[in-house]
Symmetry: C2
Subunit: 217 residues, 2 copies
Amino acid sequence: MSRVRVHNFSVSLDGFGTGDGQSLEAPFGHAGHRLHEWFFPTRTFRAFHETTGDQGGGSGVDDAFARNWSSGIGAEIMGRGKFGPQHGSWADEEWHGWWGDNPPFHTPVFVLTHHHRASIEMEGGTTFHFIDLSPAEAVSIARESAGGLDVRIGGGPSTIRQFLAANLIDYMHIVIVPIVLGRGERLWDGLEGLDQRFDVESVSSPSGVTHVTFTRR
Amino acid sequence: MSRVRVHNFSVSLDGFGTGDGQSLEAPFGHAGHRLHEWFFPTRTFRAFHETTGDQGGGSGVDDAFARNWSSGIGAEIMGRGKFGPQHGSWADEEWHGWWGDNPPFHTPVFVLTHHHRASIEMEGGTTFHFIDLSPAEAVSIARESAGGLDVRIGGGPSTIRQFLAANLIDYMHIVIVPIVLGRGERLWDGLEGLDQRFDVESVSSPSGVTHVTFTRR
C-alpha cells in the first residue's frame, strides 16, 4: 500500500516551520537558513544538484534521515508557498519557481492553489501541476500519478498541518532545531493529541538537532 | 558566583509547559501527568519523598539530569501557580500548598504574588515566603538567603519566561516531551533569538524525551 510521508521538515523549539516575511529573496522569512543548517553539510544535500562525482559531506545520523527523502517516492504535494512567494492569480508565468531548471524532485509535483495554471514540465522528470483540491483529493490524484510508490507531503507548515488534521499522513520525520524564532508559521497548531495516533521516536544528533519520527499506529 | 538555574522543566512539542484548566485536582490542567512521565521512574523521583532505603528506579540519562535539580541550590523562586491554584487575595491560609507537610525543596522558597501573606515554615527546612517583586529583585533577595549557593527558578512557564526575558538565567534544562498539548501556557512566547545568548546541547533518552540544556555564554 502506498504511504503518505513527510521528510526533513524542520521546526524551531517554539514550533515554527518557517519564519515571518516570506519573499523572493527569503523563502523562510526572518528564519533565513537557520532551520536547515543541519542539512547543508550532509552527503545527501551536497549531491542534490550534482549529477557526477563525490561531493563529500557527512554521513552520520543527519544524513541517514536526509537520504530517506526520495526513497520510494513517486509524487510530491506542496503548498503554493514552497513553489514561490506569489499570492492571488499568477501574474508572472515565466518564473518557474524556486527550484531551478532541474528541480530535485524528479517526479510529478502537485502545487495546491486556488488559482488555475497550466502544468510545467521541467528538466529531470519534475512536472509541476497546479491543483485546487482538498487534502484527501490531492492524495488520491498524487497516488494515481505515483505508480504505486509513496506520496510525499513537502510542506510548508500549514500544508502539513492540514494533511495531519485530515489524518492522511502515515509517516512524518520532524527535525527540532534548538532556536527560538518567535514568529512565523506554526506546525503544531490545532493538532491537540496528535501523538496518540503515532508511535513516536526521538534521536538527537551531534549537529544539535533532534530527529523525531511519527509512524502511524 | 551564585548562578540562577532552571531544572527538569518539561514542555510539549508545541511549547506548552502546563495544560489548560489548572485546578486543585489538576495542577497541570488537561496535560495531566503526561509532561512528567519521564521523571517518575527515575531513582531521583522515587527517593523524593522517602528518607530511608533504596526505592529503586532508573539511573540512566533521565535520572542524571533529574538528580542535578537540588545540587548546590540554596533557594527557589516560583510562580504562585506552582504553590497552589488560588487567584486573588489569600482566602484559605490553612492550606499550605501542593507540596505536603515536608516539601521536597528543603530551602527558602520565594512565591511571587501581588497578595501579601505571612511566611510559612514547613518541616524539613522549606520556608515559603510570599513576595511582590520584579524578577531582578526576587533574584537578589533569594540569593541573599541562599548563603552563596545557586538560585533555582521553579516555574511555571510564565515565571521562567519572565526571568529569561530579563536575562537573569545562567543555566536552563528543558525536557521536550513528544506530545502535542494544543492549549495551555507556552514557555517560548516573546523570546525570539533566545538561543543566541546560550550554548545549547540536546540529548535524547530511551524514554522518548529529549533533554536540552542552555548554558549562558
